[in-house]
Chain length 239, copies 2
DNA sequence: GAGTGGTCTAGACCACGCA
DNA sequence: GCGTGGTCTAGACCACTCT
C-alpha cells in the first residue's frame, strides 16, 4: 500500500485506495469490483481487512454489495438520486416525483457569491440553469442551478437536461455527488416567483439553498430552489 | 441467547439483547457496559461477535466507545441533544443556542390529530407545552409540544422545564429519543405568531412538524415549531 | 502493569445467485 | 457446483488510559 508518517490503519489505506480507484473511474458505475479474495491477494492484506474497508464504503453508499453476486460501484440512477436528495413529499409520506419544464442554460463569469459558495478562483466561468419543476402537473418549485464550467464542460449545450442531474454528473462527467449541505428558510414570493409558480405576491414559500459535494470533497453545484409548500412538505428524518 | 423461527445472526441477537438492556435501564446513561470479553463470556459467543454488535450500537450513537477506557451508554446531555436535533443555525454555519421563555404546560384529553400522530388510544391524556425560544435575546421560535401523559407522568408539574427536553426524557423517564421525522413548510404569520414572535401579520415563517421516536420505536412527542427565519436558517446535511 | 478497545490475521462454515 | 459475500471463531499484537 503506502507509507505515511502518521499511523493509518491498514483497512483505512485499503479504503482510501478504493475511493481513489472509484473516483478515477477504474470501474464504471454498476460494474463489479474484484472479489474480496482477489483484492486481498492483490493488496497483500487479509480478506477481513478488505472486508472492513468495503463495509465502510457500503455504509456511505459508494458501493452495493450482494451476497452471492459481488460488489458493484453504486449507480446514481434517476430514481435513486431523487429518493436520496430530493426531499419534497406529500404531507404524511409519499415521495413526490417531479418533471421539469421551461428550462434555460447559459454560461457566464461567476459572480462573487458563486465564487465563494463553490470555492472557485476569480474569473472562473459557470453555467446557470433555471427550470421550473412540476409535481402532479402543477408548478411547485423554481430552481436556479450554478455549475462550474470547468467541472462540466459544455453542459450548457446539452438540452434538454435530464430530470435527475446527479445521474448525468456521474455518467457523463465522472462526478459522484456524495453529500449536500442545505440551508432552509421561509421567504415571501417575489414577482419572479409569481411568474414561475402561480402564487400571489408575498405568499410564503420555502427556499432551499444547497451545495452539492463530490467524492473528492469539491463543491460542484450551488442550487437555490424556491418551493410552493401549499400542497407539499420538505421531509427530513434525523437519527 | 434466544431461538426464533427465522434466522437471525448471532451478532444481531447480541445487538437486540443489548438494546433491550439499555432500554430497560440495566446501565444508567454514562455508565460503563461490561467489557467485550466479559460480554462474550456471559453470552457464550466470541469477542468478535460482541464487537460487531457494539460497533453497530456505536454507529447509531446509542453507546460511546473509548479505547483504553470502555464502552458507555450514550448520554443525552443538553449540548449533545441540541447539536443533534436542533437544526437552527446562523446562515453560513454557527449553530444557534436557544433559551426558553413564556412557558406553559397543561394536561387534557388528546385531540384526534394527536391520537393519530402519536398512535395513541382514544381517551388518552396528553400534556400540551407551549413556549417561545429566544436566540440572541430575540424571539425566534414558538413551539407547541404534545406529550403522552402515560409516558411522562406528571411532567406538567415540573416547571420550569429544561431547555433540552430530550435530556430530561432520558434522565427522568428512561426514554431515549433516537430519531425524528420532520416535515417542513412555509406559512404566513397568523395573529398568534405576531404575538409570540414580533413579526408582521402575513410574514413568511418556517413551520417544522416533528415526531420524535424512542428506542423502542414508540412515538413519544409531537412538536410543531414556527420559526422566524429572517436571521436564522434550518441547516441539513444529507449524505 | 493491568485492562480496555482497536487492528489484523487465518480459517471454517453458511447463505445466496447463477449457470 | 462454484464463486460470491456474510457469519463466526480464536488468537496475536497494538494503542490508549488509569493507577
Amino acid at each position: 500500500m503506502d507509507e505515511s508518517p502518521h499511523y493509518r490503519p491498514l483497512y483505512r489505506q485499503v479504503y482510501d485506495y478504493l475511493v481513489r480507484q472509484i473516483a478515477d473511474g477504474a470501474w464504471r458505475p454498476a460494474e463489479a469490483l474484484p472479489s474480496e479474495q482477489a483484492l486481498a491477494e492483490k493488496l497483500r492484506v487479509s480478506q477481513g481487512t478488505v472486508r472492513k474497508a468495503l463495509d465502510a464504503l457500503a455504509a456511505e453508499k459508494l458501493i452495493d454489495r450482494h451476497q452471492g453476486k459481488g460488489t458493484f460501484v453504486a449507480e446514481h440512477t434517476s430514481e435513486r438520486a431523487l429518493f436520496r436528495f430530493f426531499r419534497l413529499a406529500e404531507p404524511g409520506g409519499e415521495r413526490a416525483v417531479p418533471t421539469s419544464e421551461a428550462e434555460s442554460a447559459r454560461r457566464r463569469p461567476a459572480k462573487a457569491a458563486e465564487l465563494r459558495k463553490l470555492h472557485l478562483q476569480k474569473g472562473a466561468q459557470v453555467v446557470e440553469i433555471r427550470r421550473t419543476r412540476l409535481i402532479g402537473g402543477q408548478p411547485a418549485v423554481h430552481e436556479c442551478i450554478i455549475l462550474p464550467l470547468a467541472v462540466f464542460p459544455s453542459i450548457d449545450r446539452r438540452q434538454p437536461l435530464p430530470n435527475a442531474l446527479y445521474a448525468l454528473f456521474q455518467q457523463e462527467y465522472g462526478v459522484n455527488i456524495v453529500s449536500t449541505e442545505e440551508e432552509l428558510r421561509a421567504d415571501a414570493a417575489r414577482r419572479e416567483d409569481v411568474r414561475h409558480l402561480k402564487l400571489p405576491l408575498g405568499a410564503p414559500l420555502l427556499q432551499i439553498d444547497r451545495v452539492a459535494i463530490a467524492l473528492d470533497g469539491s463543491r460542484v453545484e450551488w442550487r437555490v430552489s424556491r418551493c410552493d409548500t401549499t400542497h407539499l412538505v420538505y421531509a427530513v428524518n434525523l437519527s
